[in-house]
């Protein structure tokens, strides 16, 4: 990759347009589940590069560890044992931020500039602007961001925006021993994925395909799946992810009100309401994304 600019194209809770002169390439991290051996090297590389350390925990009766994403574990391997018509499959999925083209977190965020999207597609949290409300967690269709108990800020995978900015691949890509994780220009990655799908089909995976869900405008982290018709068997990867209805309500009406209430400290009630909201497609919010003109 050539040196990547980090031009911001979207900024949370900000109505002024970002600068739009420069054209930059969209990037994609492609995770080929059929090549992944679940070695967790990516988890180590992520912790090392980002200098995060979870506590030494316990075994929960599974190999997954840490058992879930945390403010210190921005990626975890999720292991699913599934009986298929081909016999047992052990489907191992590297979970983490998908860097949605239409990021629900960013839409939901009330704090100006706490979440930004760069022109290369990376969605990044700017913790210094984060107010710890947790709305991004509700807004995320993949259940990714985690609130830190230590500083009440929200953390997730940055797609190593700091590395990408200087022309390096993300740390997990660099370390992956089998080449299951690759990184590059979106078109190149889609082309690579097509080759992988041909190989998988030749091995009898008739439904092999790419996971790049359109309900959120596609993602900048994509999967090659052996069973693309059943993403849910990959440890509950959502089949048709979309941004929750509550985010739409929030955008349309509640946000100005909430901004006022914020100072009064009544946010807890809203949060409760928001978190209980159903996880459905909001046509309004989808439309809003589609209408938006990208620089």
């Amino acid at each position: 990759m050539a040196l990547q600019s980090l031009d911001v194209i979207r900024r949370s809770a900000t109505s002024t347009s970002p600068p739009g002169q420069r054209q930059t390439q969209e990037v994609v991290k492609l995770i080929d589940i059929s090549k992944c051996i679940g070695c967790k090297a990516c988890q180590v590389a992520c912790m090392e590069w980002n200098d995060t350390r979870d506590a030494i925990g316990i075994n929960h009766g599974v190999l997954d560890n840490p058992p879930d994403l945390t403010e210190n574990s921005w990626t975890v391997m999720r292991y699913a044992e599934v009986e298929t018509n081909r016999g047992l499959e052990w489907l191992i999925r590297k979970d983490g931020c998908m860097h949605c083209a239409e990021p629900g977190c960013l839409k939901a965020c009330p704090a100006p500039g706490a979440i930004v999207q760069y022109s290369n597609g990376i969605v990044d949290f700017q913790e210094k602007n984060c107010i710890g409300c947790g709305y991004c967690i509700t807004g995320c269709p993949f259940n990714i961001p985690r609130l830190s108990k230590r500083d009440s800020k929200v953390y997730k995978c940055t797609l190593c925006s700091d590395r990408v900015a200087v022309g390096l691949e993300p740390a997990c890509v660099k370390t992956c021993p089998t080449g299951a994780i690759v990184f590059g220009a979106k078109d190149d990655m889609l082309h690579h994925a097509e080759g992988r799908i041909v190989d998988l089909k030749s091995r009898g995976f008739a439904d092999a395909g790419i996971y790049n869900p359109q309900g959120i405008g596609g993602t900048h982290v994509m999967y090659v799946l052996q069973y693309a018709d059943k993403p849910e068997i990959y440890h509950s990867l959502p089949k048709n992810p979309s941004i929750g209805a509550m985010v739409g309500i929030w955008k349309d009406g509640a946000k100005p009100l909430a901004s006022l209430l914020f100072g009064a400290g009544v946010i807890g009630a809203v949060l409760h309401y928001v978190t209980k909201g159903p996880n459905e497609v909001s046509e309004d919010i989808e439309k809003e994304f589609k209408d938006e003109k990208r620089p």
Binding site: S34, K35, C36, I37, G38, C39, K40, A41, Q43, V44, M47, E48, R53, D54, A55, I56, G57, I58, N59, H60, G61, V62, L63, N65, P66, E81, E83, G87, L88, E89, W90, L91, I92, P177, T178, G179, A180, R196, D199, S202, R203
Partner: protein, 815 residues
Amino acid sequence: MGATFGRGAMTNHWVDIKNANVVVVMGGNAAEAHPCGFKWVTEAKAHNKATFIVVDPRFTRSASVADIYAPLRTGTDIAFMGGVINYLLNNNKIQHEYVKAYTNAALIVNEGYKFEDGLFSGYDAPNHMYDRSTWAYETGPDGYAKIDTTLQHPRCVLNLMKQHYSRYTPEVVSNICGTPKEKFLQICGILAGTAPPDRTATFMYALGWTQHSVGSQMIRTAALVQLLLGNLGMPGGGVNALRGHSNIQGLTDLGLLSNLLPGYLTLANEKETDYRAYIDKRTPKPLRPNQFNYWSNYPKFHVSLMKSWWGDVATKENNWCFDWLPKLDVEYDILRQFELMNQGKMNGYFCQGFNPLAAIPNKAKLMSAMSKLKYLVIIDPLATETSCFWENHGEFNDVKTAEIQTEVIRLPSTCFAEEDGSLTNSGRWLQWHWKGAPPPGDAKPDAEIMAGIFLKLRELYRKEGGAFPDPILNLTWAYKIPHAPSPEELAKEYNGKALTDLTDPKDRTKVIVKKGDQLDGYGQLKDDGTTACGCWLFSGSYTEKGNMMARRDNSDPSGLGNTPNWAFSWPANRRIMYNRASCDPSGKPWDPNRRLIWWDGAKWTGADVPDFKPDSPPSEGMNPFIMQPEGVGRLFALDKMVEGPFPEHYEPFETPLDTNPLHPKVISNPAARVFKGDREMFGTSKDFPYAATSYRVTEHFHFWTKHTMLSSILQPEQFIEIGEELAKEKGIKAGDWVKVWSKRGFIKAKAVVTKRIKPLQVNGKTVHHVGIPIHWGFKGLAKKGFLANTLTPFVADANSQTPEFKSFLVNIEKA
């Protein structure tokens, strides 16, 4: 593999896996234990359309990316592979020309050889050993083995082999292994598809084969299959031993086993006091005409080693100091060491980079043994369990500290990243590495610690004399800083140098190597005392051109991944051993798309260093396995294996069947050594109904990484794995604490309940497996745990004395 091919190491190398059409991982779990090397399996699949097969008691991380997975009961690999051999022979799916020319299929076996009711001829029942004299060729008056190239003779190797494996029908295989018959046949069919000369299969194995009481013979079954299929010596073929430590290949190469000298030269036994007899026994006569018979150079390697050790003092007159070498009464392998310690006969122990309390079976016996030591010296970067065996850690290490009188001395050493040096990987590459950081505290490199001990000892011998001071006082010690030999100095010593000007044998006026210069390779070694070489196999790794191990040119002119200028590969920078066998007898590559070496009319040439006499034309009839006196791969191992010339299925010493379906009177390896008292500590299926197997998981490396933060985060706490069916029977849920016990002790761990371990139907019985990862202990950052080897039996492979960690019996209940 040494018995079959002549050298006991990975035949090919990691990168070469990408050239395979079929990859078999059996007796190993490469994705889990060798994730970096495993990339070449991924390459073979993605770019060579390879079919990937995994056979294992557990559906492993390797199996998760396999095209075909077949389960088998732990310890039954010989039955499975014997079945494959039977399939190939019955269905005529062998590469005939290769088998005839490059194996001992056509050679005729001594008529005294027999196999009956589970025993080969010559069994000495009271001593649990064989008289192996009938396991030989029938030889003519010329000393050469007799041959029947028509393969009609009833005692030619191929016919004996057919007869031997005819018992291993698919039904028998399925009955012993628990492998579904159709899965077994599917795998046979895929392997058979590599019999044509332009198709290859590669076998990748590791400790899943070596750690059985019949481990060496398991490995030999793969060797036999590969010879029958013509896959040996071929790019994308071979039998590939994956090493469990980054430098364990280097350890054996340098002779750090009790019966070896560097370069697989062997120590004399106590009866071999005559130098000439010692040398003659190790310098074989050719068994077929016109063979290279490379071990005929044994005297050159041996004399050069003695010159390296004792310099000018080693002379022809004193037999190059042969009398100063120790003479073995028995082999002092690790199990014998602890047996002797436990008997009170071994009183002091030096333990360098080794954690035997964790790594050797039957912890209770080890504790008893170590508690009887007068002193124990530990050289290690970590505070290992062994170095703290006397500490009480509650249930995890329940000892009475006050009753242990052993004096423990800890000498902190550097870890690999804190020193320069070379590591020899599985693929025989000696790769130089550079220090990444200074060591903490008082830690010193191992060479410095050993030098310190040596210099002190020498001083004491000088001052006080002693029973036998000569070998110590005369040892060559010409390092610039005597108390700190540098890695470069040691590497140069292994490579070897000329002690006088070496001249061209064809033109005595021409000097090839000047006195004092580094040798170019072991071809220049002499048996007249004019060369010194610390390890003939490493000769060529540090020449006058510099440190060949430090080369980092990854250019690959052939496209086969051979990278001849990347590091140094023993022997002689050959990347694929026995590569002469990649050509037909006329010298033409079997596969025009995989041209490794070939005869160009005048010499052997190509993309690799020929593993052959470079100027021997095909018409001369020299065979490709140059380390063997007959030049061919041995389907019949002669007397080189202690329990028989053909691999035979014997049950683990603890078997859930309590019988051997093939021969109920001979259940387990009849030639394995079991010490008095250990046999009584074997359990039976009545009290211990479940087949257990121990193993590593990818998050950890042996017992080291529980000392590191990141690995401990990834897999923090001890667990065992059981199938859903057994869990249901026992009322165990995922995450429950369970107690697992064998006749030797118990551990407690969390239960991982999985679909990946299925009950198997074996000989009319349902056999459940209990999987036991080994990585925990009472020292380190991860949660404290029990040493898994509390459970394992004190018995080992009859040839290598590698303990049977992979197959034993346990019971389990919710804790």
